[in-house]
């Protein structure tokens, strides 16, 4: 069963990357998807990011009670945790729920209402037309969202640290600048691109092979979120093991 799905997933990807019938129509779809995936997710990403940074700072300050460790270390830990792990991974898990389920249910509904059949009868490569614009939009917009998330998380930590009195703003900023290794941003963006690819293609796969009715569309949507989350966490571990 696993190899059946893996083989079908690979074949679907092959058809997704075939030559578009009309670049202008695809470009319009890409812009529309960029708006849906990128701008549409901006609000939730901002809210999550601020709280991720704030909670990380407060909890680190709570656990790091030592006379020999300077308080600026809290800022450093918040920076590295949010950039390397929390912003890319937690935000992607949330996006898997928001964007992944939307992709799966949209394509699944098109399948059960014969809209995909209508595309195929016209001679349109349905998988390419439906999935490629979403994939390109996700691969361009999600890294941007994650960069915004990194900044907002650090800002959230700054605000929470200052308001709680756990550390002063100057100590937090000093922590942010201490032992700065830009490579962690590269790792975070590699992870993000990989997670975006997994989320989009897995969700699209679940939607594309939906059969039945509304109940099956719901099941596909649930499977899309569950499988995307599991695969994102597996990929997170593999990338960490390989690059760090």
């Amino acid at each position: 069963m696993f190899f059946f799905h893996l083989g079908r997933y690979v074949l679907l990807l092959k058809s997704v990357f075939s030559k578009p019938e009309n670049y202008r129509v695809y470009w319009r779809e890409i812009v529309r998807e960029m708006d849906t995936i990128g701008i549409g997710s901006l609000g939730i990403v901002c809210i999550i990011s601020v709280f991720l940074g704030a909670v990380t700072t407060v909890q680190t300050a709570f656990q790091l009670v030592s006379a020999i460790i300077p308080l600026e270390v809290i800022g450093m830990i918040t920076r590295d945790s949010t950039i390397l792990e929390l912003s890319p991974t937690i935000t992607m898990l949330v996006l898997a729920g928001r964007v992944g389920s939307s992709i799966s249910s949209q394509i699944g509904t098109m399948r059960v209402t014969e809209q995909i059949d209508a595309l195929e009868i016209m001679g349109v490569n349905s998988s390419g037309f439906l999935i490629l614009p979403k994939l390109i939009a996700a691969l361009t917009m999600i890294p941007l969202l994650i960069i915004i998330s990194m900044f907002l998380s650090i800002l959230g930590g700054y605000v929470a640290g200052s308001l709680s009195g756990a550390l002063s703003p100057s100590e937090y900023v000093a922590g942010l600048l201490r032992d700065w290794n830009p490579f962690i941003v590269t790792v975070a963006l590699i992870k993000t691109a990989l997670f975006a690819f997994i989320m989009t293609t897995v969700s699209a796969y679940q939607g594309f092979y939906t059969s039945g009715g509304a109940l099956e569309v719901g099941k596909s949507s649930t499977k899309a979120v569950v499988y995307s989350c599991i695969l994102i966490l597996c990929a997170d571990y593999i990338v960490a093991q390989l690059l760090l």
Partner: protein
Amino acid sequence: MIEVKNLYKSFDNKQVLKDISAVFKPGVTNLIIGGSGSGKTTLIKCMVGLHEVDSGEILYDGRNFSQLSFKERIPVRKEIGMLFQNSALYDSMTVEQNIMFPLNMFSDMSLSEKKDRVNFCLKRVNLENVNKLAPAELSGGMKKRVGIARAIAMQPEYLFCDEPNSGLDPKTSIVIDNLIREITEEYGITTVVNTHDMNSVMEIGEHIIFLHKGEKWWEGSNKEIRLTDNREVNEFVFASKFSREANR
């Protein structure tokens, strides 16, 4: 003209179509009728390439469609228009965008030419001032008419209609039936309609194929179907007490 030769199709070892052969001529409304589960939809889906056949041939004016690859089928597909049971209009697009979609994809027309073509197709199906409406804002009959408008936008040679009357009241059904017949005669296209609506059979059935348990059981016209002594055809056509009494 579409020719189907010795077509077989099965799903999970269940034979759905057995040795179907038929010729569908242009300018004539060809009907595929039969009870639920008789294989009508499977036949039409095999003919348009949504299902691959186990064996047999489907010839579009001599071109063996079933033997062609996905890319080789594209020129044939551009000559096919299809009206789906639930219209299958794209939810995310307006009526105008739905009809313009195949033109955007495959034609070199300018925007004004495309808009003219959309308006022409809408007028042909007796719909006006609906260009900016979403499919969700249309009634069942209007959706079918937009579906027909989209199907004829690329000036197809072949028109397939899957259950065009399902979910429609008898009066609207007749409007849709007449529209299909008029378009078929006007453009001289090969039209294949899959239905189990007896009003359609009697109204537009110039050439009828009756499927029973996946086999071609009977072939004739709407005039001949009333007089046939084929038991299965009679049970299907005159299923209701009213129709039996009306035929006496």
